[in-house]
Subunit: 426 residues, 2 copies
């Protein structure tokens, strides 16, 4: 029996879940591996937790724990791109320890730099839990499609947005009301902006794209949109088209340029993406000559995330090495960026019109002027002199759809800001 010594920084739900998992684990025992927890650290030592931590060595300072020679692997579950999480991970790598983290912000912002340090020190840096929780997409991209040319990776990556959008659709409720309810129920944070403004999904997308394209991509290269402006009318209009609105992260490679976009999008209800509800995540990978892979599984939750952290511990314990991103960090490519304006899709454009003669003709003219051609247009029965106009365009560049919407917004008979969302067809 091989004993691996682990210290764990951060004892929220995932940290507690990991402690219980390592405590019981029979499967690792069958593999001849025992994990011994030689240190724990968290912001608060004494608080109600689902596990008893009194038997573990306590550290007030995660950096001090990262430097403690007792541990072989340092597990970082503190969170945040900078601050103590980053300092502790750097300290642990500098001290020649393997690091396992579930911290998507840290890896999205500093992954390449930390991977380079790990490779220089000859240790592993692993983060399966940082994307899609328990769903093994990180290893899928790193190892499973290692021989392939990946052309795209897309995902439904944020449970809070899933919850809000599907509750709006099911209950016919407005965004603000559903958000408030989600916050009360604990499905959304007190400050929900990371989730609903797309930052969390963007962190995950940046990690997926780095792995998929062997490229150093960053948050700065990512077009990030959230769901705050999605109205109940948008959700209902999507339904009429047989579609759901989901927050989608897409990264694609086109002529050796890489483009990253997080945006709410219309997705056919029959599509696997549309099935991702609640904390379910779905990630698809398009690769040559393989074809399309889809991974679906729990993207959050104590058990799922702890299982992913523990899977990484298992790989390290079984001496499974290799660079963090498949290629050495210093060989991650610096690829030209495909601007989001060049993403080509059908677009869904919804306007609120003052219902006056000639308004619809002017809408059609504005679209034509922006060289956006209409695939379908629907004006449902309206009320009180207002009309909603729902347009599906033929495939065009994002820039064209946005220009058309911008021109429309300036028209006196267009009320408020038009909704412009890509339609993602399989």
């Amino acid at each position: 029996m091989k004993t691996i010594k682990v210290s764990i920084a951060g004892l929220g739900v995932v940290g507690s879940g990991l402690l219980s998992l390592l405590d019981q684990n029979q499967r690792f025992t069958r593999q001849g591996i025992t994990f011994e927890v030689v240190g724990v650290s968290a912001r608060t030592r004494h608080r109600e937790r689902p596990v008893d931590i009194s038997t573990y060595s306590w550290f007030d300072d995660p950096v001090e724990m990262a430097n403690d020679p007792a541990a072989d692997i340092f597990v970082e579950l503190i969170g945040g791109a900078d601050g103590p999480a980053k300092s502790a991970v750097i300290a642990a790598l500098e001290a020649g320890k393997h690091v396992v983290t579930a911290n998507k912000a840290l890896i999205a912002e500093h992954g390449a730099q930390l991977a380079a340090l790990a490779e220089q020190k000859g240790v592993s840096l692993k983060f399966e839990a940082a994307v899609a929780g328990g769903t093994p997409v990180v290893s899928g991209l790193r190892d499973g499609v290692a021989a392939c040319h990946v052309t795209a990776v897309s995902g439904i990556l944020n449970g809070t947005c899933n919850y809000i959008l599907s509750t709006m659709a099911e209950k016919g409720a407005d965004f603000d009301d559903v958000l408030l309810e989600a916050q009360k129920a604990g499905f959304a944070e007190a400050d929900p902006s990371f989730d609903i403004d797309g930052v969390d999904a963007a962190h995950k997308l940046v990690i997926l794209a780095s792995l998929a394209f062997d490229a150093a991509v960053s948050m700065q290269n990512t077009s990030i949109g959230g769901i705050r402006h999605i109205t109940l009318e948008d959700v209902r209009a999507a339904r009429r088209l047989g579609m759901s609105i989901k927050l989608l992260g897409e990264a694609k490679m086109q002529e050796e340029r890489v483009g990253l976009r997080v945006t709410p999008a219309l997705i056919p209800q029959a599509d696997p993406f549309a099935k991702a509800s609640g904390s379910q995540n779905v990630v698809t990978v398009d690769a040559n000559p393989l074809g399309r892979l889809a991974f679906q599984g729990p993207g959050a939750g104590a058990g799922a995330t702890a299982a992913a952290v523990a899977a990484d511990l298992g790989l390290i314990a079984r001496n499974i090495k290799g660079p963090t991103y498949g290629v050495a960090a210093e060989d991650l490519r610096d690829l030209p960026i495909l601007p989001v304006e060049d993403f080509e899709n059908s677009y869904f454009i919804r306007l609120n019109l003052q219902d006056e003669p000639g308004a619809l003709a002017a809408v059609a003219e504005a679209l034509a002027a922006a060289r956006v051609s209409i695939e379908s247009l629907y004006q449902p029965p309206g009320d009180e002199g207002q009309a909603s106009v729902e347009i599906v365009t033929h495939i065009c560049k994002a820039a064209a759809a946005q220009n058309a919407a911008g021109a429309l917004e300036k028209q006196p008979f267009v009320l408020g800001r038009p909704t412009v969302l890509p339609i993602i067809l399989p």
Copy 2:
């Protein structure tokens, strides 16, 4: 740049696909790896192939090639549980070479023995391509859920059955006609029995179950049913219930007993399993504390299978080691078997009845006598004194449903053999 020398036995579509993939591969180059093909072998040297093999060293005998010291890795794409494939793999392992194979029959029948030999020799034996083609389910089970207690693994694993069953449904055609057409179109083998009788799916299921449960399971422990007896009436009746008939492999763990079953089953059309059409495979894994994972992707085809073989080559090239099944082959558990009779489901039972007074009452009595309770019963409008009766039972053991069907078959007014299929609810 690290050069890894590979010899390839078997140059059908997958072998040819692998040669082109290794020839072009840029992604491995970025990882600092070059694969050099130092030997090829196949049944016939001179035949039309999509790649030119004249520049490679040729071996008439794969066993001789397996013994050739020039190669680091021996790739076996010959196929078949025994014969030259087995001899060559044993020879390669004995000679201290790593082995990568796409051969499900070989691994299902002899995997534990071959893994033990590989572990004794300190080399790797890998077979990602043996199950679900390019979909990384082998590594998902071995590494991704390494920390979890897996309770079930299920899959739609055979493209020929997918094709036949969905064509029956779409074209309203009989099994025999669709099979013939599939054979003409190259979607089914001249001898289709491995596919349509469930043997191919059973091979894959045995491999999945071994990995999922760290257990030495075998074909002998697997209940295997095929789709030969599925009629157009069955397919239509399933549709009326909002379901599709698919050939499903299921392995589950119940009170430390492991049960394996391959059977056609009714699956709700909204279920991810029902979406698997053509060569698409879907595998789901239920694991504690993780939850449910689903993997979907191409289960066959030159590109997808070659990509999976190459992914294994990549792992070996990057020095990624570890026992074949996660646990050492000698530690694979010898678990008691959960007999298929104990599998609990709702069952679909369809009978052709001679339409005579009292027949339906007798059916209901026979079911009651077998202690099978009816959830729903439908008798569609029939013709010429015959009636089809379609029954959905409440959850019961397979034995009870089979007993009920057996008792019914003996009734003089029941024509032919009743159809009995489990209904798989999410």
